[in-house]
Subunit: 246 residues, 6 copies
Amino acid sequence: MTEKEFFRASGRRPDEMRPVKLTAGYTSMPEGSVLIEVGHTRVLCAATVEQGVPGWMRNSGRGWVTAEYGMLPRATLTRTARESERGKVGGRTHEIQRLIGRSLRAVVDMQALGERTVILDCDVLQADGGTRTAAITGACTALAIACQRLVKAGTLKASPLRQLVAATSVGIVEGTTLLDLAYEEDSQAEVDMNLVMTEDGGLVEVQATAERQAFPRARMMEMMDYAEKGIRELLALQRAAMESAG
Amino acid sequence: MTEKEFFRASGRRPDEMRPVKLTAGYTSMPEGSVLIEVGHTRVLCAATVEQGVPGWMRNSGRGWVTAEYGMLPRATLTRTARESERGKVGGRTHEIQRLIGRSLRAVVDMQALGERTVILDCDVLQADGGTRTAAITGACTALAIACQRLVKAGTLKASPLRQLVAATSVGIVEGTTLLDLAYEEDSQAEVDMNLVMTEDGGLVEVQATAERQAFPRARMMEMMDYAEKGIRELLALQRAAMESAG
Amino acid sequence: MTEKEFFRASGRRPDEMRPVKLTAGYTSMPEGSVLIEVGHTRVLCAATVEQGVPGWMRNSGRGWVTAEYGMLPRATLTRTARESERGKVGGRTHEIQRLIGRSLRAVVDMQALGERTVILDCDVLQADGGTRTAAITGACTALAIACQRLVKAGTLKASPLRQLVAATSVGIVEGTTLLDLAYEEDSQAEVDMNLVMTEDGGLVEVQATAERQAFPRARMMEMMDYAEKGIRELLALQRAAMESAG
Amino acid sequence: MTEKEFFRASGRRPDEMRPVKLTAGYTSMPEGSVLIEVGHTRVLCAATVEQGVPGWMRNSGRGWVTAEYGMLPRATLTRTARESERGKVGGRTHEIQRLIGRSLRAVVDMQALGERTVILDCDVLQADGGTRTAAITGACTALAIACQRLVKAGTLKASPLRQLVAATSVGIVEGTTLLDLAYEEDSQAEVDMNLVMTEDGGLVEVQATAERQAFPRARMMEMMDYAEKGIRELLALQRAAMESAG
Amino acid sequence: MTEKEFFRASGRRPDEMRPVKLTAGYTSMPEGSVLIEVGHTRVLCAATVEQGVPGWMRNSGRGWVTAEYGMLPRATLTRTARESERGKVGGRTHEIQRLIGRSLRAVVDMQALGERTVILDCDVLQADGGTRTAAITGACTALAIACQRLVKAGTLKASPLRQLVAATSVGIVEGTTLLDLAYEEDSQAEVDMNLVMTEDGGLVEVQATAERQAFPRARMMEMMDYAEKGIRELLALQRAAMESAG
Amino acid sequence: MTEKEFFRASGRRPDEMRPVKLTAGYTSMPEGSVLIEVGHTRVLCAATVEQGVPGWMRNSGRGWVTAEYGMLPRATLTRTARESERGKVGGRTHEIQRLIGRSLRAVVDMQALGERTVILDCDVLQADGGTRTAAITGACTALAIACQRLVKAGTLKASPLRQLVAATSVGIVEGTTLLDLAYEEDSQAEVDMNLVMTEDGGLVEVQATAERQAFPRARMMEMMDYAEKGIRELLALQRAAMESAG
């Protein structure tokens, strides 16, 4: 779409994801645990399944899924102060954990989950762009593994996870549409889009933001094409990780 | 797109906005003040222009635009506790004020603004759905009026506002795509989208969320069409309000 | 009492109130809603009636009345930071909302109210002096309207409001006693008094403060005379607003 | 004023103060330290003199006086949670420390104090009613002693304290006006008044509150008479304490 | 152990405690109240006995003992900001109150206490070093007195306090081991140790910290000898205070 | 010391450490990064070196070393709420981070460090007992690696780290002294001791706590012997990790 294409420092093609690795069972305490690595970005995702639901849902027979997101102070190039020390959760964190929660709730059958709450903790060990989309992809895998176990243990008859979701980012940098932005690229992007998609190609969340200038709808379509390509690859890796977790 | 269309309690057609009214100069203290009414939703928007910018921007010669959003406790049908009493700003508030801020920054020439900070306070007096999009539309108008004044006063040579932005919501309720959801409709929506667009048709923010189930891309296109129609109407009202503010 | 009388910028006589307007039903969500305007000061008052009382009153068969006070950031000439952003309610706010609450509790028959809590939210849209006394006058009217409705709806047999209260301020500026201080006058006052009075002339709250130097008791008597005059006018307006609310 | 007088458990006459004791130099760290005992009520008052003033007063050549008030958890019959544990200062504390601060500022010549801040810490060791008025009386004495020292040390040419202030409470219990309410009396009072007065009889603060029902102006006059009588006694004790502190 | 011994400003021998005084019943509200003075250090200790235990202990038939520690702002030479004003309890305070709580729990028979919670409030009125060890010694005495009363009142059959604990500090200053450090000595100490010991000589807490350089084990033994000597003296004073409290 | 020795679930001898592994450079952002694994306990330690020191040390020419400690919510068998969500850092966290900070400051030459601040972030990824001692051992290694780099980069002439410190825990379980307690053992321990020691055998911190009953001094000596044995092994592993980090 642009005459002169932006050259990616990593040598990646515009529509190429960074190397992705999903390690199931990275820690052993949670019901479901996954370390997701997307390039240098590393997010540890843990699924906790608790009995009961928040007060406003009690006696509905339905479950609840929520997420929390955090970043280690030195996940970033310069140190970021802890939110616990500052005494409050920041706006960016709130925004991200609400996004993760909504993304997962869209694919869970709350009736099938029953009055249980699943909390997805997504903690960024190293941040190089795309932490929120990596968190969604990883959290969904951790949730899938936790459900798998509950079924195996006979607690649930069938997994309440109707299908998997995965997410990635796409951006426009110097006029070039690029899939899966690394931090360096993200900081220069004119437009930034996060897309969350299910296995059957349904859209769960589309968030496109003009960082500096508005963009035409045609560009949005192209970005969505790129994102879908990347998400297809992620969904395959999620399936593989679920199998490895047995 | 659906066989049997959802009937709106208000008698509106699916692609019809609620009545919209913009009152410039509703209060007299701020540099720019607008009360926006969209149906029963009422948001008071105030633009404050202060000398100086946040520390990380100092000596850049560039300005900054930010927003804060609040809701009076009894803007809603049942009373909502004050965030000041709870001692912290909630996630929803954080998410909304970040959205408003980003939307406006995308159309402001920060170089032309110079080292000034514009704070847009958006306070909901009455809430009947669509408060965040009404806030964007109203805040942009308040900002435009404040800029107009700074130009008239000779403080600025030309308005740093490159063009206006306005926003509305679109949703899918019982399979029918509906423009500008009222609270009652919003609470039943399967999909909810907020779209922020400029006068030249550029997209600034697109946020589409599947509340219950994923949606196909074609549906997204239809929702964008509806939103563009509504936003065209809002932009005309903004221009009129600016003129009335003289 | 002084040889040369202080000239009020508004041209008002020393014992003259600013124009006062009470708009019943300004918003439609609360059980009782009143916008009170005293000169440029505007306070939106909302009465919320909830079932139940605080823990320490449970099973007493008695009700409770409390108030919260807030100010929009740009109600003032220069912007004031939100208390929600600062993470705590300030001392001035605490002092004011305690004053409003006490003033109203003095005229409510808690036995007749039954185990219900009435919360009066007083939010200042524009501040030009006298916001706390305007809040008391407006809140009492909102409470009266809410009680009227509960009686009409058959929920209560008779209104638990024994009589109305209203409040105003009086001050001494350059030796002259002045009724109903506007902000500009208030900032120069040597003495500042707030008085809350009932329809039968009983005192509910008297708060007189020497801002710069102590004052003799005779001066206090004069200030009380002025205040009573103003409050009589306010009480008549409250009755009219109640009737208009039907 | 009432036919049958209320009998005070202490055997005091209606216009009789509890035994009062002021111990100067109770602790040795502060510039001025006083333990005030009014009956069983005990408040430790400490005056700290620091160089500099709050930002908004800088380079005005004028000083500032402020107060903080606290209560040990077990100053009361049943334990009260610490405000530090609850993470915020309560409304009652805010109200009291603002009252103490205003009372003292009314008698200090800020020009003579120069760019210094005096902080009066008033900590209640035991509470049996009247802690806020005891705090004012004690804090003024601690301030006077601190000023005395600054003059003796040659830091100040003359004491910036123009005259002393003292405070007491008066209430109406079962129709009888009573001076200096103990906790038991206070909890039954229909009306409660705090009065702050200077040595030359000037009023600094008058706060009268109808706890249950409004009261006539004549009653207010009687309460003011009682309070003045008590304050005269307190002022004499303050002078004696100042002398003992040398 | 060193050639040239450090000379203590107070003229004390290296293994000599400061004068210690325990005043039982210093305030009259708490179930047990003790003012402990160790040199210029003064800590007011209050034991509150409440029905019930924290949620996680309910229905265990066992009691709980906890402590809170505070310091008046002007207990110190220069004023320290209130933790209530700063909105949070600091790390030092947390560390100290945890230490006090653990020390007392080690000597209480929780079964004999039954489902009651004892809160020990330790508030420093004046600080000259050793406030945490004085707090432990004083709190244990207040607890002992409260238990004595519960037994006398017939609420408890026997005191749940198995034996007394007391605590003191030892340090190394300029190479000399010193018992019971005053503030001036503490601020120069190379090593600082707090030791909590029971009447039968058992150790409850040993906390030794190298402030500037590591120390050999032999030195630790010598410090423990000194501490035991001091604690023996404290235990005798505690017994005397208990008897005086009757 | 006991007739019948406690059998460790892991099959370890009483004086045997769990397998320990130190991975230098586990993350790449910090100046020094180490993942320490002690049995199932895993702590990620990051050293951040910043220019400047806290205000009270400015212009002293000396540096500062501090630590922060956190735990991922699902590091534990049941989920622990985030301190950022609760809005404050808990007492246990405060206690631990103060211990880590003191332990490291005892071995750093602050003059040689110059006006720089080193922050050691210790985040527990998985917790199975001994997280605070693992954090000290890991943090010291991360600090050593960061210093090594500053020397190599020529920023510092020599490492300000005078010698290494390492730490372990020892406890008494059913009368048996055990080195390096796992969570299961720790929860049953009668006595718990943490010991921090330098390479030349100097003690930096000794913290011994009787969880249930006081213990004799002889037992303390035995525990110190065990701890020294374990620490010797840790110090060797630290040296190896430093070499691997080059």
